[in-house]
Symmetry: C2
Subunit: 221 residues, 2 copies
Amino acid sequence: MSEYRDAAGKRLVDYPRPSVAVDTAVLTVPVEDELSVLQVRDAVDGDWRLPGTFVHEGERLADAVLRSLQAKAGVTGLAPQQLQVFDDPARDSRGWVMSVGHLDVVPFSSLSRGLDESQVRLMPVAAATGMVHGHDDIVAVAAARLRAAYEVAPDPWGLVAEPFTMTELRRVHEAVAGRALLPDSFRRAMMPMLLAAEGKRAEGPGKPAGVWRRLTETHPR
Amino acid sequence: MSEYRDAAGKRLVDYPRPSVAVDTAVLTVPVEDELSVLQVRDAVDGDWRLPGTFVHEGERLADAVLRSLQAKAGVTGLAPQQLQVFDDPARDSRGWVMSVGHLDVVPFSSLSRGLDESQVRLMPVAAATGMVHGHDDIVAVAAARLRAAYEVAPDPWGLVAEPFTMTELRRVHEAVAGRALLPDSFRRAMMPMLLAAEGKRAEGPGKPAGVWRRLTETHPR
DNA sequence: CAAATAGTGTCTGTAAGACACTATCCC
DNA sequence: GGGATAGTGTCTTACAGACACTATTTG
């Protein structure tokens, strides 16, 4: 493996290399609430930040993300998506550190159990500012990526469980978009990408809503 | 700088770290031709590949890209845009290497001079396949990113020099899009983002064309 | 004049926004 | 029935595609 030598007779490890970290914006939509991001308390300075870790040798970035989420926030079963590299050599006082920002999405139902609230919290993305190391930017990029995905497909990250009513689907899309959506236009835009499911469902009074499943694939989990 | 110690009393450099490289898809539009990518000959195995280099200590990724383009292809004055990280630990036989893919765009006029054709060549993006280390993917992502940018703004990377005629602008957009565009629809879509310039220009017979400048900012160079 | 290129007028189909209307439940 | 929620009909506006037409040059 390390038999390689370059023209100067040196191995790769004979040159300076950066430490590589991953930091992840875990997004979710709490019930009847706005798009929020998971923050953890920094072990050193106690500030709120995004969960992250250094990448281990031979490890994929996505696996490092999953490991950090499990360790720092007790969250499992996700499918991280890479966003961008933060490469300012001066951004970390500990030395030469690059960080690869990631996006991950998790249904609120699988997140709400077992969080240590003194160490982990959910923050609306609009209010999650002031984090160090450019973590604010990761959240902004992650939210933009998520919004773009939700504009063209029904709940592509699987935030609502199938089967769902059109209103449930629209509430999640409204939370991601950060604004109200017209019920009739939304229904017409989504119907071609949905399959009618068996049964109906009523919350309180009113006509029971039909329930639906996705025709399009959901993001890998 | 390296005074930092973690809970185990270790410095960052006491842990394994990857080598980090940059590889760049330099795109251009040769006169009356299709969107093409710059390839260089690999110093070791002689295969055609994207220009790239290892990142030096304290260096920004964008600066490493510019350094590699200057050294490998004799190209200067660009503004690289980061695409994504290739992190498969087994992708490079020399050891643990991550590569950050980049996009850069350069007008053909500033590229056509002084290329050593045995070491550097332009290849239409559709034909630039079979490269190692996932370089084919970088080209695909770079072309997609460029196409998206050209769908909403007039020549945002400045491939044509101002002032230009509507036909010149359309030819470049057609090359980027990889298909013919309707002259009238194109004109109507672009006009609100253009400013009429002084003078006219005629190529051979026919009504002389009006010339234009961009109202929108061009990508930083 | 004809040929060639630049540019405009205008019709059509599609789709989003908006809003009124109908449908079906609980009480 | 009355209130509440689900779902549809349809008008308006905007815009891309399409194509015919006009405009201005060279030879």
